[in-house]
């Protein structure tokens, strides 16, 4: 196609620089032996050492990962089953109202979700802490899983199911041998999105986390409110590397499943 004009290149360049500068700025100063983010004294890894020496911080990191994986897993199971169920609802009106309800949590502001979940947990009598955070993360991840799985189910040719049934497959076999393999890319995407939602969430967790329990976002918030500590910079360095690894891994996995899928179809 047409080549970009120099002006266009400069514009895109500036946008990219602005998007990445703060991130690299953080990582750059994570190696600063001076205690601030404005003059670089000499290279050091002591702030990374601090992160790994701080057992409280490590527990928080592990908690964050556990919450993300666990909530992602459970949300994926409930969401996938939900999507399969939604497709089986033949009444158009009913199906649309379920879908609108599904999207409520996606469009709702975090603060409202957090506040209403706080009321809910207090009413039911759930103690604020690990359980409340985990349940909240499952709750706000389910709709995104449904949205990821649903298109795959809708594009699936129903004659595949008919064929399986004609050939004597039981309901269970139809589900595990026909439907699930077909919608696998959607399930993967849903699981991945659920994990990123969980890792990135601050507002909801902030409301429903009690005194004793904390995730990385909430911890960074309280550290940042207290002022600049280069430990946070070191955390951002670690998070950046982890994010890039996850993204690369995700593309690897999805591309491979794509190849597998087309391989099966052809």
């Amino acid at each position: 196609m047409t080549k970009l004009s120099p002006g266009a290149r400069v514009y895109l360049g500036i946008v990219f620089i602005i998007l990445y500068a703060p991130i690299f700025y953080l990582i750059f100063y994570s190696f600063n032996s001076g205690g601030t983010m404005n003059n670089f004294e000499s290279f050091t890894l002591e702030h990374y050492q601090d992160v790994f020496d701080d057992s409280r911080l490590l527990v928080i990191l592990i908690n964050t990962v556990i919450i993300a994986l666990l909530s992602g897993l459970i949300a994926t199971v409930i969401g996938t089953l939900g999507a399969i169920g939604i497709v089986s609802v033949k009444n158009k009106k009913m199906r649309n109202s379920i879908l609108s309800l599904n999207n409520v949590l996606i469009v709702s502001p975090d603060v409202v979700i957090g506040a209403s979940f706080l009321i809910l947990f207090t009413m039911i009598g759930v103690k604020l802490g690990f359980t409340s955070v985990l349940v909240s993360h499952i709750a706000f991840s389910i709709p995104i899983v449904v949205l990821m799985v649903l298109p795959k189910l809708l594009e699936m040719n129903t004659s595949l199911i008919d064929a399986a049934q004609d050939l004597g497959a039981s309901k269970r076999e139809v589900l595990t041998r026909v439907i699930l393999p077909y919608i696998k890319p959607g399930i993967f995407a849903g699981f991945f999105m659920a994990i990123t939602y969980s890792l990135d969430d601050f507002a909801v967790t902030f409301f429903v986390t009690g005194n004793g329990f904390s995730t990385l976002s909430v911890e960074i918030y309280s550290m940042a409110r207290a002022g600049i500590t280069l430990t946070v910079n070191a955390i951002s360095g670690i998070v950046f590397i982890a994010t890039v690894l996850i993204v690369v891994g995700y593309y690897f996995v999805t591309n491979r499943t794509k190849v597998c899928n087309t391989g099966v179809q052809e």
């Binding site: 514009y11 404005n38 409930i78 309800l101 409301f207 600049i228 946070v232 993204v247």
Partner: protein, 268 residues
């Protein structure tokens, strides 16, 4: 018959809808009708219509409007130029990656960048400008919010532009429309759906920001989100907090209706 058996998988999902979608909304409405002692009252609603809360709501809308506007101004040309690049999906991925870095970390970076001794002030100083406190101003708040929302605005616009049939643009050019007319009469109207969903994902969260206001704007800027957090977690006045939440939900529904309805009408 196949239908009935297939309802089984729906069961946990329906429970989820009842417990985490419907119940929370009802609870928020219920709490908005309670005073501090748990008695029924409409005082919270009367309170919301007092001048203090109305001013806060208006300023909150004003900030959200500015944030959305600036985000759109930056994002549209970026998305447009991205669709013209050779490896457009690769470049789009590079736009998306920063949005996956934890929000808190990105916000924290700006505490350093905008600080009194930060790089921006150091840069200004080399031109002989006295360092000023950029942090805790309206400017810093809007800048950081725009920074956060840019990728989320670019994605839907990029998708809309990507779907645009290029022959329509060629046709417009062949029929004598210049670049600006082509954009105004062909490209923009055909990608308006992308712009609308971009506005949706920016404006509603911008109304309810509270983390960025606290960290970047100090206590200078109070949005609806800040007020809810304040009432729930600091003042422990859940009734008033719920009332603000009820209005936030109403605003959200209105915005969805404004930005959503035409897409259905237009497509059919």
């Amino acid at each position: 018959m196949a239908n009935k058996a297939a309802k089984g998988p729906l069961f946990p999902y329906i429970i989820w809808i009842a417990l985490f979608v419907i119940a929370p909304i009802l609870l928020v409405v219920y709490y908005s009708l309670l005073d501090l002692n748990g008695n029924f009252t409409l005082a919270n609603y009367a309170n919301f219509f007092s001048s203090a809360y109305l001013t806060m709501t208006l300023t909150s809308f004003w900030y959200a409007f500015l944030i959305t506007l600036f985000t759109l101004i930056v994002a549209y040309p970026t998305a447009y130029l991205l669709t013209k690049t050779k490896h457009k999906h690769l470049w789009l991925m590079f736009i998306i990656i920063p949005s996956w870095i934890n929000l808190l970390l990105k916000t924290y970076a700006f505490i350093g960048i905008f600080g009194l001794y930060g790089p921006i002030n150091a840069f200004a100083q080399s031109f002989g400008i006295e360092p000023t406190q950029i942090l805790f101003t309206d400017f810093s708040f809007i800048f950081v919010a725009v920074y956060i929302f840019i990728p989320f605005m670019i994605i839907p616009i990029f998708n809309a532009l990507d779907k645009l049939n290029p022959t329509l643009v060629y046709a417009a050019r062949d029929l004598g429309a210049n670049r600006i007319t082509t954009f105004r009469r062909v490209i923009f109207p055909l990608t308006i759906e992308g712009v609308k969903s971009g506005i949706q994902v920016t404006f509603i969260p911008a109304l309810s920001l509270f983390m960025i206001t606290r960290l970047i704007a100090g206590n200078q800027v109070i949005t609806l989100g800040t007020a809810i957090e304040q009432q729930f977690l600091v003042a422990q006045n859940w009734g008033m907090g719920s009332t603000i939440a009820v209005f936030l939900i109403l605003f959200m529904v209105l915005i969805m209706l404004f930005t959503g309805q035409k897409s259905k009408g237009g497509r059919v």
